[in-house]
Symmetry: D2
Subunit: 185 residues, 4 copies
């Protein structure tokens, strides 16, 4: 079973990247073939219909599509920007939607977020769901929002809070079990 994991943030020291790394490690420990990607690998310009006509689908979008296509499931760890989905992440979805059939169709998707605030990015995850559903992803019944994320990690990248850690472990166990069993295609 192969699962693509990435954070929807371009910043290097992003809390969301930290959470993505933790999730990737946990999935690896569960025996999953993890593809821990950096969002920067999927470099692409702002979506522009004229650019699509003149230059085609950007290489970064094609790479993202390829990595999704060979995965059974994906994990997106996304910051919340201004009560919504980050522009760069939505931009990637918009480019991705120009590839038919969508590489996302029938893949299982687990959402997580991290934020220094007390909300933990939960509003961003709400905002992104309609577009992901539109792309044919099956959205997990669980999602994980890490509040006060700037104080949430130990130096080794594990979670300070044992209860939160157990909660996340349970969610990922279930996610892997569903990904291994569900015949979505």
């Amino acid at each position: 079973m192969r699962i693509l994991v990435f954070a929807g943030s371009l910043r290097k020291e992003s809390l969301n990247k930290k959470l993505a790394t933790l999730i990737a490690d946990k999935l690896d420990a569960l025996g999953v073939d993890v593809d821990a990607a950096d969002f920067r690998e999927f470099d692409m310009p702002l979506f522009d219909g004229d650019l699509e006509v003149s230059d085609g689908i950007p290489a970064g979008t094609q790479e993202l599509a390829r990595r999704i296509a060979v995965a059974d499931a994906i994990v997106i760890v996304s910051p919340e920007y201004n009560y919504g989905v980050p522009g760069p992440l939505k931009n990637a979805i918009d480019w991705l939607s120009r590839i038919r059939p969508y590489p996302t169709i029938g893949k299982i998707c687990f959402l997580a977020s991290a934020a220094p605030s007390l909300v933990g990015g939960a509003r961003g995850l709400i905002a992104i769901r309609p577009a992901l559903s539109f792309m044919g992803l099956w959205l997990s019944g669980d999602s994980f929002s890490l509040a006060q994320a700037n104080q949430a990690f130990e130096d080794d990248g594990s979670l300070v809070d044992a209860d939160l850690n157990k909660l996340l472990d349970g969610m990922l166990d279930r996610f892997v079990k569903v990904t291994g069993s569900a015949q979505t295609n």
Copy 2:
């Protein structure tokens, strides 16, 4: 495999009920043990925390919870009211969320909508997703919105448009396959 199907509308001649009936028949033909419910069976008052303290969870909510608990998956066919989820349906979710653990956890959910408008209720389905995800439902990567639904049905309840019918059949095939295979609990 048992699937609960209901329309989130109280009106008797609702287009959404017509679509729910069609979906129930199609699932039945696929060998599913279908529980085709009428939303009126789940009669409950407006949510009121004081009422919960004095009278407990309403009988209609408990019945809805029981029917969900014995199902492997649910289909909700919901109208769109004012760019959003119908008040009565959201009210049912609000009461349901007072039962712990949520009976919805780990169930697969397929969403459909019907409307006389050209939009077909798609905005209502967008509005209801966050609450359903919050309740632990796994949302199907497909959903079916029937536009101009007042002209969409034959007298026998089938769809006039053969392409739309085929599209719906494909979605339900996949939904049944996932429900039968996915180990969500």
Copy 3:
């Protein structure tokens, strides 16, 4: 200038009612003719198209419409239920939308929320905006979400936190100024 203020909760000891009372008092101190309503005054059944045909618009809906019609602006203080708008409040909007023209058209609307959680109901306010915009309300650029609301009030109903109190005062000043000046009809 007349402003209708109510909390979208039926519970008597609701934190949202407490916040609605505080806002009503503050508006009163600004010289506004405040109509501080209890949501229970607008008693109505679950929306049902058949009931509308047989019995017409419920008396509680008509009363709500009348109170909105004679106001220049409205304040809705709303809890968040399950990442969304409370069922009873959406139900009231659904009934209200059956009255043409909408009594809400061109009224200014200020939104607030209170919740014991760290989020303070902000997600409920996000969920309710599309329906309110659909009803022709002009939504204030400010909104006020009170987190950890169970610890936020003094015994006399004022806010413990002086900064939050000042923030709310500024928002209400602006709201009254706009309501007094804007020619929306």
Copy 4:
């Protein structure tokens, strides 16, 4: 009175640009000092916190902020991408939100959309509202979604449908009246 008008699309022959041009012309005829901008004037990279630290706010974002700051109101005509706000437009909002205080605070905002589909982009307008409210904009109680927009325009850029044209005129009249009267700052 000065109003900034732009379409949230980079494509040259965008239907949304056509609608933005029509709205700009109509506002001009109402005596408004119209700033009809091309979204390409606000060229900026994908939002990246590291880039902000190293290079500061991009020139295109600063230009957008400056144009908003000197306007009394703004009109955004936005396509709908995948049930949501276009990535490039959300990206512009995300960069804009890094400027404090937000240049958008207290400005009146009118939303419109155009799409070849039967929905006319209405779902995109729903998705963008929370972020705009977060930025302190006062959202008009009216919004205009143009369905089947590829057949909606005469060669001279006016609307084929006289009723739709009258509807839009009424909305813009009200928008200008409110912008001229409301004291939001």
